[in-house]
Amino acid sequence: MNTGESVEMPGGMQGVVSDWSADKEAFKVPWGKAMMWIFLVSDTFIFASFLTGYMTVRMSTTVPWPNPSEVFALTIAGHHIPLILIAIMTFVLITSSGTMAMAVNYGYRGDRKKVVILMLLTALLGASFVGMQAFEWTKLIVEEGVRPWGNPMGAAQFGSTFFMITGFHGLHVSAGVIYLSVVAFKVWRGDYEKKGNYEIVEITGLYWHFVDLVWVFIFAFFYLW
C-alpha cells in the first residue's frame, strides 16, 4: 500500500502491473491530462467513423470518382502542379506541431516568454492552415462548381464527404487556435507561475498533435487515394 513516502518505482512490465494495481491512481499523470487522452481516443472513433463512411460511399456510388490530384491542382506561374496547396497546408500543420512541441519543452524549463511566443506561433500557423482551407473551399465552390449534393466532375459523394470531413477537421483546428490563444494569454498573465506548473501547455499540445495526426490520415485517404 502507498504510505505516501518516496518509493522506488519498478520499470517495464512490472511497472505497468504495479501502476494498475496501485491505490489512488492508475497513471502517474494529472487529471486533466488523463481526461484529454480519453477524450482523444473517443474523438478518434468519430474521425474513424467519418473516414469509414467516406470509403463506403466511395465504393457504393455508381458514378466515377473525380481524380483528387487533378481537382486539387493549382496553376502557379504557368506550371500546373497537382496537390500543391494541400502539400503546403500539410507542411504548415506539421510545422505547427514542431513549434508546439518546443513550447511544451520551454514550459518544463519554466521559460514563460518563449512558451508564449511559440504557442502564438503555433496558433498563427493553425490559423493560416484554416485560411488556406477557406481558399481551397472557395476555389472548389466558385470555380469548379462543387456542391455537397453534386459536382460536374463525377460522384456527388465527392463533394459531400470532402466538405463534411475537412469541415469537421477545420472546426477542430479552429477550436485549437482559440484554445491555444487562451492558454497562451493565461501563460503570459502568469496564471501558471502561481500554480508552479505548465502541464496545461502539454495538455493543449496533446490536442494539437492529435488534430495534426488526423490530418495525415485525411490527407492519405482523401487526397492521395
Binding site: 500500500m1 502507498n2 518505482m9 491505490d23 487529471w31 473517443s42 464527404t161
Partner: protein
C-alpha cells in the same frame, strides 16, 4: 522525486453559497445524480404512457380509437428511443454513476465538477429538444427507433421534416452531454480513489459503470457521425445513406448512397449500447445480491474479467442485428460466432450470482426481491438471445413479436428491475429515510409476475409469425383468432403492471415525508458509501479526513468475525480477519 498522488493534495471544493448554487446550478455529484434521476424518470413516464396507448390499440383495435396509424408509428419510435437512451442510459450512468462512483471510491466529488454540472444541463437540453418534436406540426418522427434510411427521412414517413430533424439534433446533443459526464466517470475511477482503494478492491458497481462508460465513449461517436450524415442528407441533399430512389411517384435527387452503411454505423453504436445499459445493471445487482445474501460475491475476479470481456467483445457483434439486411452471408457466420462467444462471460456472471445466493443467509428485503427477479428475467431474455444470435433461426423470427419479447425481457424489464432494486437499496442513503416495506413488496410481485404475463405470450406470437410494428392486423389466415385474444390479454396485463408503478411513486413521496429515519447503514453493508459521517452524505462526502480502505468490498460472514460484515474501512486484525484477495 517521489510522486504525490493528486488525491493527496489539498483539493479545492466548489462551495455553494446560495440555495440556487446548491440545488440548481449545483456542482455536487449527489445533487447532479438526483437531477439526472428525476429527469430520466420523468421522460421515462412519457414513454410508459406511449406504450400504454399502443397496447390499447393492439389489444382492442376495434374498440378504441385513440391512435391514428401514423401516431402509432410515432409512439413506437419515441417509446423505444426514450426508454433506451434518455431513460436507461441516463439513469444508470448519469444517475447511479454520478451518485455512487465518488462515494464508493472515497472521493470528495468527481474530478471535474463544473463539467459534470454542464453534462446534466446539456442532457436536459437534449430532452427538451426531443420533447419539442411532439409539438411541431409534423409531430415526432415515426421512423422506428432504429431510424433506418431511406424511409426515415422521406416524405410519407410520419414526422418527416421537423420530427426527424429534432430527433437527430437531440441525439447529437445527448452525445455531447454523455461525453462530458463520461470523461468525468472514467478519470475519477482511474485517478481519484482514496488510500487503499486499489482497482481490485472496487465494488462491482463501480467496475461495471466504469467499463460501460468506456463503451459509451467509444460507441456513441458512431451514432454521432451517423446523425450528422443523416442530417446532411435531410437538410442539404447529400447522398450518404440515400440511393437513387422513386418516392411518391417522382425521382428524388438522391443517388449512390449506402443505406447499409447507416445500419453498420447505427449498430456499431447500438450493440455496445445494449451493454452500456446491461453492465451497470450487472454491477449494481451484484452488490445488492451480495449484501442481502450476507455472503461475499462468488468469484469477484472472474466477475471483473467477465465485465471486461463483455465490454471488449460487444464491439464485434453488431451485425447480428443485420442478418436480414442483405449483407454478405459470411459476415453472418462471423457475427453469429462472436455472439455465441459473448454468451460465455455473460453466463459466468449468471452462475456467479446464483452461487452467491447458494447457502447464503438470504434476507428477502425489497431490493433483494427485485435483484432475484432480475436473475429470472435475465436468464429468460438471455436464452432467447441465443435463438436470435443464430442466422438460420433469426431469419424467420426477425421482425416478429419474438424479437419484441426477447428484447423487452433482456433489455427492458431486466435493467428496470435492477433500477428498482438499486433505488430501494440506496434510498435510505440518498434520502435519509426508509421506504414503506409492504408497498415495495406489492410493487415487486405485481411488476415481476405481470412482466411474464406481458412478454411470455409475445414469444408465442412470434413463433406464429405475427409481425411487429403493425398498427392493426385485421383478419388474415396467418394470424389465428387465439392470437387476437392473446393480444387483448397482454394489454390487460400491461395496464395492471403500468398502473402498479403508481405504488412506487406513492412509496417514494410518502417515505420522503413520513418514512422512518434511516440508520446510516441499514443493510449492514461493507462498501464506503454506507460509512459516511452524515446520512444523506454532506457536501464533500467525508468530513475532514478521507476514508482509508483496508480490504475488499465483499467482507460478509467472514469466519472468525463477530459481526456478519466488516466495512472496507476497518483495519485487518485478529477480530476483523480478511477473507478476500
Amino acid at each position: 522525486m517521489a510522486h504525490v498522488a493528486i488525491a493527496d493534495e489539498g483539493q479545492e471544493l466548489h462551495h455553494p453559497k446560495s440555495w440556487v448554487t446548491a440545488y440548481i446550478w449545483s456542482q455536487d455529484h449527489k445533487v447532479i445524480a438526483i437531477q439526472y434521476g428525476i429527469t430520466a424518470i420523468s421522460v421515462g413516464l412519457v414513454a410508459l404512457v406511449l406504450s400504454g396507448l399502443m397496447r390499447l390499440q393492439l389489444g382492442f383495435p376495434d374498440t378504441f380509437s385513440f391512435l391514428a396509424p401514423y401516431e402509432y408509428y410515432q409512439y413506437v419510435t419515441m417509446h423505444g428511443m426514450i426508454m433506451v437512451i434518455y431513460l436507461l442510459t441516463a439513469l444508470f450512468l448519469g444517475g447511479f454513476g454520478n451518485y455512487l462512483i465518488p462515494l464508493m471510491l472515497g472521493a470528495r466529488d468527481m474530478v471535474f465538477p463544473f463539467l459534470n454540472m454542464l453534462s446534466f444541463w446539456v442532457y436536459l437540453l437534449s430532452v427538451i429538444v426531443l420533447m419539442a418534436s411532439f409539438f411541431v406540426p409534423s409531430g415526432p418522427t415515426g421512423a422506428g427507433w432504429t431510424l433506418y434510411p431511406p424511409q426515415a427521412i422521406l416524405e410519407g414517413t410520419p414526422g418527416a421534416g421537423a420530427g426527424i430533424l429534432l430527433m437527430l439534433v437531440s441525439l447529437a446533443i445527448f452525445i455531447v452531454a454523455f461525453t462530458m459526464g463520461g470523461l468525468n466517470y472514467v478519470v475519477t475511477v482511474l485517478q481519484a480513489r482514496t488510500r487503499g482503494m486499489t482497482l481490485m478492491r472496487m465494488p462491482l458497481s463501480v467496475w461495471a459503470i466504469f467499463v460501460a462508460t468506456i463503451l459509451g465513449l467509444l460507441a456513441f461517436p458512431a451514432l454521432f457521425v451517423s446523425a450528422i450524415m443523416m442530417t446532411l442528407d435531410l437538410q442539404i441533399g447529400t447522398s450518404f445513406f440515400m440511393p437513387a430512389i422513386l418516392s411518391m411517384g417522382e425521382n428524388l435527387e438522391y443517388e449512390g448512397g449506402s443505406p447499409v452503411l447507416f445500419q453498420h454505423l447505427f449498430w456499431f453504436f447500438g450493440h455496445p449500447e445494449v451493454y452500456i445499459v446491461a453492465l451497470p445493471a450487472f454491477g449494481l445487482v451484484s452488490d445488492v445480491l451480495s449484501t442481502h445474501a450476507r455472503k461475499s460475491i462468488f468469484g469477484y475476479r472472474m466477475m471483473v474479467w467477465a465485465i471486461l470481456a463483455i465490454g471488449g467483445i460487444s464491439f464485434i457483434v453488431w451485425a447480428h442485428h443485420m442478418y436480414v439486411s442483405g449483407m454478405n452471408p459470411y459476415f453472418g457466420f462471423f457475427f453469429a460466432t462472436t455472439t455465441l462467444i459473448i454468451a460465455i462471460p455473460t453466463a459466468i456472471k449468471v452462475y456467479n450470482w446464483v452461487l452467491t445466493l447458494w447457502r447464503g443467509n438470504i434476507h428477502l428485503t425489497v431490493p433483494m426481491l427485485f435483484a432475484i427477479g432480475f436473475i429470472f428475467t435475465f436468464i429468460h431474455g438471455g436464452l432467447t438471445g441465443l435463438f436470435l444470435g443464430n442466422v438460420s433461426v433469426d431469419v424467420p423470427l426477425s421482425d416478429t413479436y419474438f424479437v419484441i419479447g426477447h428484447f423487452h425481457m433482456v433489455m427492458g424489464v431486466s435493467p428496470v428491475l435492477v433500477l428498482f432494486a438499486a433505488i430501494y437499496h440506496w434510498f435510505p442513503k440518498i434520502t435519509g429515510r426508509m421506504f414503506h416495506n409492504a408497498l415495495g413488496v406489492w410493487h415487486f410481485w405485481i411488476t415481476f409476475l405481470g412482466t411474464y404475463a406481458i412478454y411470455l405470450p409475445m414469444h408465442y406470437l412470434g413463433f406464429l409469425g405475427v409481425p411487429r410494428r403493425y398498427y392493426a392486423y385485421g383478419t388474415t389466415d396467418l394470424i389465428p383468432e387465439s392470437a387476437h385474444t392473446m393480444n387483448a390479454g397482454i394489454t390487460v396485463a400491461a395496464f395492471i403492471v403500468g398502473t402498479a408503478q403508481i405504488l412506487f411513486f406513492i412509496n417514494v413521496f410518502w417515505s420522503l415525508r413520513k418514512g422512518k429515519k434511516a440508520d446510516p447503514n441499514p443493510w449492514r453493508a461493507t462498501t464506503l458509501e454506507w460509512q459516511t459521517p452524515q446520512t444523506p452524505p454532506a457536501h464533500g462526502n467525508w468530513g475532514p479526513e478521507l476514508p482509508v480502505v483496508y480490504r475488499w468490498a465483499y467482507e460478509y460472514s467472514t469466519p472468525g468475525s463477530a459481526e456478519d460484515f466488516i466495512p472496507q474501512t476497518d483495519p485487518v486484525d485478529e477480530t476483523h480477519p480478511s477473507s478476500g484477495e
